[in-house]
Symmetry: C2
Amino acid sequence: MKPYKQFFHEYNLTYRPYVNQLNQELAEFQLYSSQWRIMHFILHNGEQTLSDIASYQKVEKPTTTKMVQRLIELDYLQSISGADKRTKLIQLTEKGLERCDQIQAKISQFQQYLLEDIPEEEQVAAARLLNHISGKISDYRKG
Amino acid sequence: MKPYKQFFHEYNLTYRPYVNQLNQELAEFQLYSSQWRIMHFILHNGEQTLSDIASYQKVEKPTTTKMVQRLIELDYLQSISGADKRTKLIQLTEKGLERCDQIQAKISQFQQYLLEDIPEEEQVAAARLLNHISGKISDYRKG
DNA sequence: TTAATTAGTTAGGCAAACTAACTAACGAAT
DNA sequence: ATTCGTTAGTTAGTTTGCCTAACTAATTAA
């Protein structure tokens, strides 16, 4: 099989088991991986508008609205009004921040386990490859 | 950011855009990427039972049943009864086989475009890394 | 000041997955 | 040979995670 076929073959087979296991790890926090992605984004990039979150995750705004609403219900996020009165700045609550620490610890352990036998160089190279693909897809869409 | 974090970060960001674009490529054949995965599997591995398909894709049987039913409606697949009368052997129809050729050509072009700037070595290394992850996840589930 | 754009929400829909509960057929074990 | 556990596949019903269309409110540009 050609290298590019090999790669996409493995790529397809890996995603579901990974997300399923991630969801299982997150269950004790009553979170799905999609919700954790939002919290993770805010944790590392500070408060964000709903549009920021949507465009970063490359999903539509209504989808993001609902996820954020759920996270607000769980008291993991809160929204404050921005200078531009149309916007809502979404930030972590104290409880949310606390959970982030616990979740990060758990997820990091899982992720490190998955890559423990792979040299760091290769991990970085694979990350670069994926990043490259993301860029190419954006270009492809435009032109 | 640590290599393993980098990797999973990119991994998360790449999947949806990739699948979305794949679905767009497949739209002219009235297929979704999940359905194409099934056809692709049968194309490369010959006729399969429904259980084979489900366990390979790592989804539950009811999910597989419905997808295969849809592909039979489209006249891309057909099922014949196996020696074991409980089983159904799912195989490509003539029309399905024809479509596979057309789809393969289109998808290959897209996938090659995505990786055209990446040395083949790195592609293979990344495929190996993903394969390794799949294995680790299976192990993790068991123990 | 009016028109176009942007931020966010609501409503409604669909794909893709799941579990639970079922039927039918097989196989092993006494 | 009969029974009992297992496997193959289906049906029914639910949920997640995404989408588009249509809307309101606020901002920006002409």
